[in-house]
Every structure is written in structure tokens, then in C-alpha cells.
């Protein structure tokens, strides 16, 4: 995409970038973070600076490491959902559903079509919320605050839908092993329709009008922090950041889960893998998500919203008070007394930032023997020093912002 734009060649910025590094230069060490408003999270970058130009950098991560993998080895499966919320907290429902699907794969449970469609709707709303934050914050970091303010109103509406679905806003704990905890309520459906048919397209169109062809924005982001497709693959990039480099890898298409094969949508890809391409890919993905949600609402199947899985899905409260069997199951599930089958599963979903994988080893006990989260942020953040080598500090901020590094996901 960026190739079609006029790239500033002889601006002072471009000339400054090409100035060679002199050996006897005195370097400055600059700590960017751990708590800096521009890092959007708790992680540190120790940068070696030559004037305003970055010579090299080293990241320190782990400031909010909460030992989720260790905690998970002690918890029954349904209690691990709340840990996944706190990884990429900008799109918690995707993490939740990814975990439910991993356990369902281990148990061999087939979830009814209706539940799968509701999951798709919630996951795509989460993706929109995630991308909204990333793109509007990129605007803030390049000096445009208004886009952020416009879009956060829309994000608020998505959070109201979460609230309607599960009662929570940020750490959602949405869905259950075997389905959803409740059906799509008429209010929720109304709010979703209002969002995808009216509010979101309007806000996105306005946002794109403000940014896509904005001269100042283009000067700040085009050709900033580009990464080649080959290098991106070596670094294990996935999601929008990889697609911006031109590789059309999307887990939703490659290994469809939760009925993604039923929907018709495109995978947007970029050319150069620079900040502008990442921005544009995310923007386009939001439109694709809106398309998917519309299809899901229009073809929402009737039927149950949970699988008939007594050992994992809580029985209705009425039945618990009146039916002995239901009471037993309720007790066993809540106390985590149910043993899972032996096996090992790898399940991947397309998270807001890329391939979010769950590697689960079960030894037949109540809790996982080993659970490993493949966190896309943790993997691609390694490339950051290479990407910001030789750029000005203000560009490094834009690069970090467009990579969408979420501290919760980085540190698990």
C-alpha cells in the first residue's frame, strides 16, 4: 500500500537517517520505560543513542510476570479461563474462547452451531476493540489525539455488549467449556446490530478519513520500521504484523475453528511491513470483522447454546436445587473433582496480535500437567531492536505502537 504513496526522499529526516555512525561518537544511554506513557505497558528498553538516533537497544521484559503457567498446573480447567483474560486484556474474549476450544478438543466435545456463531460474534467484536485501541493509540503517538477520542466512544459500546453477555468489561471470563454461559439476549443482539450496522462503520469511515491520506501522518509512518516477509517469518511474526509484510497467514482460514469456514471474508495484506502497512491492515481487518459479524447475525442458527456435557458444563441452577444428579455434577464441577482424559493438544486461534496457541498436556488429573501459552507479542517483540535501529526516538515510539505490544501478553 505504501508504495503507491509519495515517499519523502530528500527531506531533512531522510538525510539525517542516512548519516553514517562515526566510531568515536559519545553515546547516551536512555531508559525508555519501565513506566513511560509512550510504552503503553510495563516494559523497559535500554537504548543506546547517538543524538536522537538509536544505535542499539535491549529490552527487559517480565515486570508483570504472574506465573500463569505455574498457577494453571494447580487449577481445574474451568478456573484457568480467568488467567487467559489477563494476557491480552484488549481482546479477552478471544483468549477465553481459545482456551475453551483447547479443552473441548482434549475432551472431544462438539459445540452446537449456535454457540459457535455466538463465539465468532464475540471474538470479532474483541478483534475490533483490539485494533481500535492499537490504531487510535498510534494516532496519539504521532500527534493526533482526536482519532483516539472518537474511537474510544465506539470501544465503549463494544464493552457494553460484553457487559450484556457476561457482566464484565475488561476481564470477561466469557463462555464456558462446552458452550456459552447464556444465550444471546435480545438487548445484546440489538446492541450488536446497532454497532455493526450503524456506529462502527460510521466511526471507522470517519477515522480513516482523518488518517489514511493525512500528510502529517503519512510522513510519520511510511517507511518507518519496515520488516521483510522473510525476516518477519524468521522472527515468528503472526497476525496483522506478518500480514502487513505480505504473508497471508491467518489461523481463521488455515485451520478454521468455531465455524469460521462458514463465513466469507478477505485477508488484507500489505507490501512493505512498515508502520503504515500495519495501520492499514488493522483498519481493513476491522471492516472484515464487521462483515463476519453481519453474516453471523443474519445466519444465526436456532438451537441450544451449550453442548450436552454434564461433566464440564454447569447444570441450570433450578435443577441443582431439585435434582440429585444435577447437584452432584454441580458440586463436582465447582470443586474441580473431574478428571480429564490423558492427552496432549495444541490449539491455535487468531488473536488480536496473531497466533495465540495453547499447548496442553494432561496426565489424566483434574488440572493440566503442563500448559504453555504461545503468546504472539512475546515472540515478535524480539524483533524490536532490529526494527528501530538507526531511527529517531519518536519513530521508535510509533513502531512500538504499531506492533501492538501488550504487556500482559508479553509476560503472562
Amino acid at each position: 500500500m505504501a508504495e503507491e504513496l509519495i515517499i519523502p526522499k530528500n527531506t531533512t529526516d531522510a538525510l539525517a537517517l542516512n548519516r553514517p555512525i562515526v566510531e568515536d561518537t559519545e553515546y547516551t544511554t536512555l531508559n525508555l520505560g519501565p513506566t513511560h506513557p509512550a510504552t503503553h505497558g510495563i516494559f523497559q528498553n535500554v537504548l543506546k543513542m547517538d543524538g536522537e538516533k538509536i544505535v542499539s537497544g535491549e529490552q527487559t521484559v517480565g515486570y508483570i510476570h504472574r506465573a500463569f503457567e505455574k498457577i494453571a498446573e494447580r487449577r481445574p480447567f474451568y478456573q484457568i479461563t480467568t488467567l487467559t483474560d489477563r494476557m491480552n486484556y484488549c481482546s479477552s474474549p478471544i483468549n477465553n474462547m481459545g482456551w475453551h476450544m483447547t479443552v473441548e478438543k482434549l475432551l472431544g466435545v462438539t459445540v452446537p452451531k449456535r454457540a459457535q456463531y455466538i463465539r465468532v460474534i464475540m471474538m470479532e467484536l474483541a478483534r475490533i476493540a483490539d485494533h481500535l485501541i492499537c490504531n487510535s493509540i498510534l494516532g496519539v503517538d504521532t500527534g493526533a489525539y482526536s482519532g483516539f477520542l472518537y474511537l474510544f466512544q465506539e470501544r465503549e459500546k463494544i464493552y457494553e455488549i460484553y457487559e450484556e453477555m457476561c457482566g464484565a468489561r475488561l476481564t470477561t471470563n466469557m463462555g464456558r467449556i462446552g458452550g456459552m454461559e447464556r444465550d444471546l439476549s435480545p438487548t445484546a443482539l440489538k446492541k450488536i446490530k446497532q454497532a455493526v450496522y450503524h456506529d462502527l462503520p460510521k466511526a471507522l469511515a470517519e477515522f480513516e478519513k482523518l488518517f489514511n491520506r493525512n500528510r502529517i501522518f503519512i510522513d510519520r509512518v511510511v517507511n518507518v520500521g519496515p520488516i521483510m516477509a522473510e525476516r518477519a517469518l524468521e522472527y515468528g511474526f503472526t497476525g496483522p504484523n506478518l500480514r502487513a509484510a505480505g504473508v497471508d497467514y491467518d489461523v481463521r482460514v488455515m485451520e478454521p475453528y468455531s465455524s469460521y469456514e462458514d463465513f466469507d471474508f478477505d485477508i488484507p495484506v500489505g507490501h512493505n511491513g512498515d508502520t503504515y502497512d500495519r495501520f492499514m491492515v488493522r483498519n481493513q481487518e476491522m471492516w472484515e470483522s464487521i462483515k463476519i459479524i453481519k453474516q453471523a447475525i443474519e445466519n444465526l442458527p436456532e438451537g441450544p447454546y451449550y453442548a450436552n456435557e454434564d461433566h464440564y458444563y454447569l447444570p441450570p441452577k433450578q435443577a441443582v436445587y431439585s435434582n440429585m444428579e444435577a447437584l452432584i455434577y454441580h458440586f463436582k464441577i465447582v470443586m474441580g473433582e473431574i478428571d480429564a482424559p490423558v492427552g496432549e493438544v495444541y490449539h491455535a486461534v487468531e488473536g488480536g496480535n496473531g497466533e495465540l496457541g495453547f499447548y496442553l498436556v494432561s496426565d489424566g488429573g483434574r488440572a493440566p500437567y503442563r500448559l504453555h501459552f504461545r503468546r504472539p507479542c512475546f515472540i515478535y517483540y524480539q524483533a524490536y531492536p532490529e526494527m528501530c535501529k538507526g531511527v529517531a526516538i519518536s519513530d521508535a515510539i510509533a513502531i512500538m505502537s504499531s506492533l501492538n505490544v501488550i504487556a500482559g501478553e508479553l509476560d503472562a
Binding site: 517480565g62 515468528g236 488455515m254 492427552g343 495444541y346 503442563r370 504461545r374
Partner: protein, 166 residues
């Protein structure tokens, strides 16, 4: 479409006794090799003209204290984006000698993943450019994901497992 059978046969033909325990849990080809052959195997799969396993999805460790002589495991997940096929490779190491060659020469991704594995299990990746702790503090003198460190405080007596039938 490439099948697990084809991949397994090809690898068996090249590596013979050095690869074993072929399984297909949930349709994902899984097998075990040893640390002398792991890098050769990764290179072979990377360079293979039809398989093209060029994307390293994940590296993680596992601790199996009851598995005498093979207490530690390193698990690699590879992905062939062209064929849309995944494989899982396991290497088991003895607790007395937990060294394994690094995969950073082949994949830039492996850097932090190996550091993370070292951080939690103490598995030493020989040849790694910067093998130090990543998520935990550097002063830490133990490897927290090992099974000898149970999660709950052992001195607490208000949670008796027997009362819950555990």
C-alpha cells in the same frame, strides 16, 4: 495434500533409529529424537523441498520427575505454512546433564523462547548468544516450573486435601 504418514516415513528413512515414538494425538504428528540429532532434524525439515517446515511456532519445556533418565523435555512445534501442516518434536534430557544445542542459528524466534525455557526449567541451550533469565529476576537461584516446587505454601494447614477427597 501432505499426510502425516508421508512425513513420518521420510523422516524414518533419513534418521532411522534416532527418531522414535511416532504418534498422532489429535492429528498432530509427534515424535521423539535425541539431542545429537535435533539440529540436523530441524535443518533437514527446514531445507526439505516439499515439507518446508520453516516456521517455528513454539519451544517449551516440560518436567517429568518420575521418568528416570529422561526427566526434562524440550518440545518444538514447527509449522509448514505452504502445506499447512504442523509437527511436534520432543527431545528428552537427563537431569544430570541438561544440555541441548540451540536453534537460534536457524530461527531468530528461538532466542527468547529458549531463554524462557531456561528461565523456568534450567535447560541449558549450548551456543545460545544470550542465555539468561527473561521473565524472572536474575538473582533467582532456582527454576520455578520444576515439579519439586509445589504451588501452595506447604505450611498451610487450613486446606487439607483429604477433606476434599484428593
Amino acid at each position: 495434500m501432505l499426510s502425516n504418514q508421508q512425513i513420518a516415513e521420510d523422516i524414518l528413512a533419513h534418521f532411522g533409529e534416532n527418531v522414535k515414538n511416532f504418534e498422532e494425538p489429535y492429528e498432530l504428528l509427534t515424535f521423539t529424537t535425541n539431542r545429537q540429532n535435533i539440529i540436523n532434524l530441524l535443518v533437514y525439515l527446514h531445507k526439505h523441498e516439499t515439507f518446508r517446515f520453516r516456521f517455528l511456532t513454539d519451544i517449551c519445556g516440560i518436567h517429568l520427575p518420575d521418568n528416570a533418565g529422561e526427566e526434562f523435555g524440550v518440545i518444538y512445534h514447527l509449522h509448514s505454512l505452504e502445506n499447512n501442516k504442523r509437527v511436534r518434536i520432543k527431545v528428552f534430557l537427563s537431569a544430570d546433564d541438561i544440555h541441548i544445542p540451540t536453534a537460534t542459528t536457524l530461527y531468530a524466534t528461538a532466542n527468547w523462547l529458549e531463554r524462557e525455557t531456561y528461565d523456568f526449567y534450567g535447560i541449558i541451550f549450548d551456543g545460545h548468544p544470550n542465555l539468561k533469565r527473561i521473565l524472572n529476576i536474575e538473582e533467582m537461584d532456582y527454576f520455578p516450573m520444576r515439579k519439586e516446587y509445589p504451588l501452595e505454601d506447604a505450611t498451610r494447614n487450613d486446606k487439607i486435601d483429604a477433606l476434599f477427597g484428593r
